[in-house]
Symmetry: D2
Subunit: 332 residues, 4 copies
Amino acid sequence: MILQLHKSISTQEAANLAVELKAFHITTNDNHILITSSGMKEVPVGLENKIEQYWVFNSDMQLSAKSFLPQKRQICIGDKIIGGNSMQTLLIGGPCSVESEEQIRQSAELIMSLGLTTLRGGCYKPRTSPYSFQGLGYDGLMLLVKMKEEYGLTIITEAKDATHIEEVIEHSDIIQIGAKAMYDQGILHACSKTTKPVLIKRGFGSTLQEFVQAAEFVLSGGNENVILCERGIRTFETGTRFTLDLCGVAWLQHHTNLPVILDPSHALGKTYGIPSLARACTAMGIDGLLIETHPNPKVAKSDASQQLTHEEFTQMYHSLKPVAEAVGYKII
Amino acid sequence: MILQLHKSISTQEAANLAVELKAFHITTNDNHILITSSGMKEVPVGLENKIEQYWVFNSDMQLSAKSFLPQKRQICIGDKIIGGNSMQTLLIGGPCSVESEEQIRQSAELIMSLGLTTLRGGCYKPRTSPYSFQGLGYDGLMLLVKMKEEYGLTIITEAKDATHIEEVIEHSDIIQIGAKAMYDQGILHACSKTTKPVLIKRGFGSTLQEFVQAAEFVLSGGNENVILCERGIRTFETGTRFTLDLCGVAWLQHHTNLPVILDPSHALGKTYGIPSLARACTAMGIDGLLIETHPNPKVAKSDASQQLTHEEFTQMYHSLKPVAEAVGYKII
Amino acid sequence: MILQLHKSISTQEAANLAVELKAFHITTNDNHILITSSGMKEVPVGLENKIEQYWVFNSDMQLSAKSFLPQKRQICIGDKIIGGNSMQTLLIGGPCSVESEEQIRQSAELIMSLGLTTLRGGCYKPRTSPYSFQGLGYDGLMLLVKMKEEYGLTIITEAKDATHIEEVIEHSDIIQIGAKAMYDQGILHACSKTTKPVLIKRGFGSTLQEFVQAAEFVLSGGNENVILCERGIRTFETGTRFTLDLCGVAWLQHHTNLPVILDPSHALGKTYGIPSLARACTAMGIDGLLIETHPNPKVAKSDASQQLTHEEFTQMYHSLKPVAEAVGYKII
Amino acid sequence: MILQLHKSISTQEAANLAVELKAFHITTNDNHILITSSGMKEVPVGLENKIEQYWVFNSDMQLSAKSFLPQKRQICIGDKIIGGNSMQTLLIGGPCSVESEEQIRQSAELIMSLGLTTLRGGCYKPRTSPYSFQGLGYDGLMLLVKMKEEYGLTIITEAKDATHIEEVIEHSDIIQIGAKAMYDQGILHACSKTTKPVLIKRGFGSTLQEFVQAAEFVLSGGNENVILCERGIRTFETGTRFTLDLCGVAWLQHHTNLPVILDPSHALGKTYGIPSLARACTAMGIDGLLIETHPNPKVAKSDASQQLTHEEFTQMYHSLKPVAEAVGYKII
């Protein structure tokens, strides 16, 4: 249950009520909001006259629910806006892993040359084998920061576990929580205490309900800037790496107030269909796309088979524009 | 292995060779074609001088493979064409089940009013419970035929098992093999002996490889007019009815020469996102869409929750046109 | 809803009531039983005094439900009994496919030599490729019949579609409905009109609810001798062929009154763990096991990798006995 | 590739070689072992005379592979042994969550009364909703430690993320890595630096290959005491909470040298079939069972529906003994 307190209630009293009700306490637009378990269905006796408004739920999808906040949340990424009424699709490009200054600089220049604004690059790679390339870690993050400073780009990179989350929060413009870390409460808790945008990738074995509840960990801690990212779920089909769940995207757009970004690169795992899938995603009126591209995919240290060349990325970008327009959106 | 015989080889000799090699024997463009298991990797000794051309495969996806026939197959649906270089997306609409003459007539008139040409309607319903509505059977089929005759529409309906396949082949313009019947060799064999277009729906538990191999049963029996239909696979996600596999569509478009039609209605199972998903499908440059619509979905005898009203269908149709244009296609 | 009519109601009157209620009508222990959709929750007005007893359900799992018939159904296989209070586990062995008289005779002699009674062998093989061995068909069935006549064994073989179901019903002692044919209403309908035992394999993409509803098609048509067979479901895991669902077996034993037989051979797809899995199955107190064994697996025409040698089968059989005893069962 | 160096090679030289080859360096039985990526297939030129023995692999399952170490690893849990040739199945019982001293004391006394030795209890609970009971955290861990000290039991509890892993390593006898944390390299790295036994639960969306590679993170860091725990995977079936993958257990027993413990409680999610499933698991000759039991499941703060009463647990224990004996094992 979400309880919005009267304006007259002081911060201290709100905090006391939160303790009493074992509720989360956040402040939105100068309103004190308490969030209890969805198991609570009625305003506690004695509180009626302290409550401005309340919402009852049949699941723990509460702050993220359209029934609480009907309009899509608006989020600032640098000086760009997604969500709200912006009708903009943020095209984020860059390599799977930051491998060297020369490599990430080439990607940065690609993004600049197309008039785009946001650069991705993995530093802390959540590999499934200890014997694979594990990413450059902090050094990679510093290379991303260098690109940000030199080119004025916004950057996004991933935290793989709670041991380095503070570094990512400090330096990245968007904090990406990887699919394998979606349940990591060490990360989720840290992200709830910043105001930077947090992009949560859906675990490939996670239900939509669990996915949105991961967002609730961040929202209920006080960070309103949460973006959901669908990147393919694991199914019996092995002809493709994962199965991009666009039915799930329809579900998220219908039930939640959170912006949705899509990652077709990890879903398909092969370059051949990524531009086509990106057009399909765009036609759904989404808030962003995350596409892997590498100056020379053949020598990439991770995910070589799914990174577009810069030429392929450029062609794809141009093909996305008319599709976005057909549904009233603009690629930014 | 596929072997194309010299033009000089007689039909009788070709037939004898087929028996000898335990191969299928079909005739395409006046060429005799023999298809053996993909386990055969070399032209049998003694046959070298009878072979015009041959193709070796690493799976039993042979006649359907791009490596055999690089261009997409072209198929006539009434006086319309899909596949080949037509760049057309056939929008097929109609109710889940034919329920009455009045109901199916209303659907026929909707299709006519939008300038569309193809009407769907289930007669033999493959229900999972014996206690549900099982469809009108042959009487339903006769109602569809009546609409065809009165309005000049082409019709498509489904066979659920081999006991009534001959009726469907006789009367329907496109023979639909339902998802639950994808492996039904009684149906597949019968369909291989007609030249009518056959639309095979992917089993919701079937791999892409198995799906295409079902098409091989029809192609290797001599019917070249096979269409694949992706309609959602079963995954762990239960917030939606099934998971529409657009990564799989990318795979099919990349690996096979068969036209692909999509059915977002069964995938999502709820009306709210079907127009949006239909736009996503259209943006992939597909050969058709199968959308359920009912004059009054609330009283539908099957799949009530996923059938669009005629108004919703009309709106969706208009929204599809600019998306199709954005990728060089036309909705027909 | 299931309605048991008063003894005084005549067969004709029962039949009339069935038509009126759109219900199935069967006779069990001289009682007239009507089965309507589970959507019916109350005895229709006017019928109260014709009803001896009635059962209300919240799903279309009705005749198979423990709430209708609490004790497990007893089924005769030749002169052996499974189910009821028999506490017997029927060990069925034999090759994937009947390939020749010599081969199936060796299997028959293996079964005889161990004091077992039931021989399996596939004749109509539901292959996923047209280019694979499709089974010997009717000729294979006649070889099985020959073994039955010569050795006094009971036999089980599979129907793959409705075109040959009558042959299987006529000649086989147990009619097996394959996993790919679980939804085939042509087969299910034919099986409901015999009294021979019918073993339904769970579709590898089918829910437990759908699985049991397939049994309802047979039960509601009047055949009470239905056995369920779990044989592995399709999951994301590809290290093994399928995933044997023993949680599902626990669910079936808890919710239904139908005997359950298990097929670990198709589930694992490799011989190495089949004896161990067979012991696991046995420890659950099940009604039977279906195990593939071949005189010379290396040359088998289908499923070569999962068929035990006769020596392995014999060793497995001896290891099953103490496990069965540990849970109060006997291998027969 | 695994390289075992000559005894004559000094620790310093081994360390230098590890840096040169980008290899992990561990010491086993006084042997220096270097582990490189499995992509390396040949001994590097110039090293031939420093190598005692080497092993080549076709996947990154290396230290865990039977081809490296054919016999099952032996692990000490307090003064008990599992794995190796011990033929012992460690029955671990206790509540889902430690809720109070009184509750965990009752569980400890149950374990004592049955002559068992190992107590489980969750402290840091990896819940999917922020609004659910999150466990007692460090206070709960101290209650477990109290039971350990008072009763002489060994204890096992779970780390949910890297922020509290050091506390768990310090106080728990077995460190459990939960299913949702299987990929957490912060946890895996910390566990590789202790010698305490580590039980890794398989992620419910993780392949067997990924599961074993999680173990490789710990093994390659130098901790040889790794136990695998299968606890059910997520499939399309929703009648049960998860699907216990016993085919996967057969695969693990065939391919790896790691002890395997099974958790049927989380797999089924309902008490009715847990004893039966536990018998099935036991019949596979496994190294342990993890079973949830609570003094009063109805009031449990988490997983109420799957915790056995103490009476049910006791009955189950007695029924497991003859099954274990039937396969040559002993419940400890």
